[in-house]
């Protein structure tokens, strides 16, 4: 494998979730986290999962990541069954989960070092390429505690992109950031996604965020967790979260969400 082929994005893969069910038992209580959930995500599609707290969005994402296992059902990426974590599917968590004992560059290198077929110098070059992509090329030698929340998520994004996955799984990655930083990241994420096609599954509570980013928005309903409704978003890219057309979609989806929401649940429009 040469560097130029390595930096070329892998073709994004199709993701197929078929009849997934998952129950948790804790302290004699049983939670039906997912009930017969099926979802087809196309190559290079950006899908957002939205739903009230506890409806199983993270559970589904973790199952796709291979970090947890379904009780029933099947999952395939690019036609191959998912049996565990894999470099073809990288995850971005709500907490950046960067390693504080490594500097920024070494954090991005962590996954690359586990990938065979590259020399040390090539790995460093790949890591620097992705750090540049997220705009942090000047911070390669910084340590995690010296970064702001937004910078941490950028590093985490670079770290997830570096092994050149075909699927990117994101679990509320921007939830802990301030509105301004978030808006910047919406723009950057859309740019990166358009340049380096990936299949993206993005979990969020924020309906506007979902409409801004997703080709499609899947609504979940809780107890048991199911996909209730899906919306295709046809707005042109690159989308501005403050645009009026976007707000129209958001209002429609929020109304659908509120159909089964308890009064205590709140949605950002």
């Amino acid at each position: 494998m040469t560097l130029s082929t390595e930096l070329q994005s892998e073709t994004p893969s199709k993701l197929s979730v078929q009849h997934i069910s998952k129950r948790y038992r804790s302290g004699g209580r049983e939670v039906h986290a997912l009930d017969d959930v099926s979802l087809e995500v196309g190559e290079g599609e950006f899908i957002c999962l939205v739903g009230p707290s506890g409806c199983g969005k993270s559970t589904l994402l973790n199952i796709i990541a291979g970090l947890e296992f379904a009780d029933e059902g099947r999952l395939y990426t690019a036609g191959a069954p998912i049996t565990g974590p894999g470099r073809d599917r990288m995850v971005l968590f709500q907490e950046a989960a960067l390693f504080p004992w490594l500097d920024v560059l070494d954090n991005v290198l962590f996954g690359l070092k586990l990938k065979p077929g590259l020399s040390g110098a090539e790995r460093t070059e790949v890591a620097q390429f992705y750090l540049k992509l997220v705009g942090l090329e000047k911070f390669t030698k910084s340590y995690v505690h010296e970064l702001s929340g937004g910078m941490k998520q950028r590093v985490a994004l670079a770290r997830a992109l570096a092994p050149n996955p075909r699927v990117l799984l994101m679990d509320e990655p921007f939830a802990a950031l301030d509105a301004l930083t978030r808006q910047q990241l919406y723009g950057d994420l859309q740019d990166i996604w358009q340049q380096h096609r990936k299949t993206i599954v993005f979990v969020t509570h924020n309906v506007r965020e979902a409409v801004c980013l997703g080709d499609r928005v899947a609504l979940f309903s809780p107890h048991p967790g199911r996909i209730k409704e899906q919306f295709t978003i046809t707005l042109p890219r690159r989308r501005d979260i403050n645009s009026i057309e976007l707000a129209r979609y958001a209002i429609e989806i929020t109304a659908a969400l509120k159909g089964d929401a308890r009064p205590s649940d709140e949605y950002a429009i």
């Binding site: 990541a65 291979g66 970090l67 974590p85 894999g86 470099r87 599917r89 990288m90 995850v91 968590f93 907490e95 989960a97 390693f99 504080p100 004992w101 962590f110 996954g111 586990l114 990938k115 340590y143 995690v144 505690h145 770290r159 092994p163």
Partner: protein
């Protein structure tokens, strides 16, 4: 700077008060020696070499036993964190023995190893080992699960996961454990040296003991002073900065 001056002033005043107490002759000078005589003793012991020899003997014993205790305790701690069965057996033993003041090992050490360096070594190891096992185990259990999850998605597993993620992630707790182990080792060695005389070397504890036998109070107080200084240096220069640094960078600061 202001803090330093204040501390300095306090110690000068304390010394003056001490000297005044000595001059007042309320107690016999055998019980309360003057600070000047303590200083003179330390100076003479430093010049004729006894102080350095004793410090060297003590430090050698300490480092040998401590180093061994750490080297053994770290892998055992990792095993207790990794395997439930080790936790239920060795972990329980460590928990129990850690509560035992390590000077309690001295009689046993004497029976097993006689009045030998091995006995000293054993006591220091017992002082270090158990707290190191517990600190390591505790450190690993405190690692945020998200680290292991993130690492696994990037293809990390097995020993790689343990040595590249779990071990470095628990480092701040491990260093806290090393600091505690040092304190235990230091205390147990002093107790052992006061309690046991070994002909192959006189440590600081031995000097303290002989000071009492000779009724040389300035020696007793002088050596106590040296012991305090070594303890402080180890804590404030060796461990605390390192510990603070790690907790800050790891974001585990209390």
């Amino acid at each position: 700077m202001k803090h330093l001056l204040r501390a300095l002033l306090f110690f000068v005043l304390a010394l003056v008060a001490w000297e005044a107490l000595f001059r007042a002759k309320i107690w016999s000078p055998v019980l309360v020696p003057s600070p000047v005589s303590v200083g003179r003793y330390l100076y003479e012991a430093a010049v004729d070499g006894t102080l350095w020899d004793a410090t060297l003997v003590t430090m050698r014993r300490l480092l040998l036993g401590y180093g061994f205790g750490i080297a053994l305790g770290l892998p055992l701690g990792l095993l207790t964190a990794r395997f439930r069965i080790v936790k239920d057996t060795l972990g329980l033993v460590a928990l129990g023995l850690q509560t035992l003041p390590s000077v309690c090992w001295v009689p046993l050490a004497l029976l097993w190893f006689g009045q030998s360096e091995t006995a000293m070594f054993f006591v220091v190891v017992m002082g270090t080992l158990w707290s190191m096992i517990i600190a390591t185990d505790n450190g690993v259990r405190n690692v945020p699960p998200i680290y292991a999850r993130a690492a696994r998605t990037m293809g990390s597993s097995g020993l790689q996961l343990w040595f590249r993620v779990m071990l470095p992630a628990s480092l701040p707790y491990i260093v806290s454990g090393m600091k505690q182990g040092w304190a235990f080792a230091w205390r147990s060695l002093m107790a052992a040296e006061i309690y046991v005389t070994i002909l192959s070397g006189f440590g600081l504890g031995n000097l303290l003991h002989y000071g009492r036998e000779l009724n040389a109070m300035e020696q007793v107080i002088g050596i106590m002073f040296v012991i305090i200084v070594i303890g402080l240096l180890a804590d404030k220069i060796l461990f605390s900065p390192w510990e603070k640094f790690l907790h800050r960078r790891w974001g585990t600061a209390k």
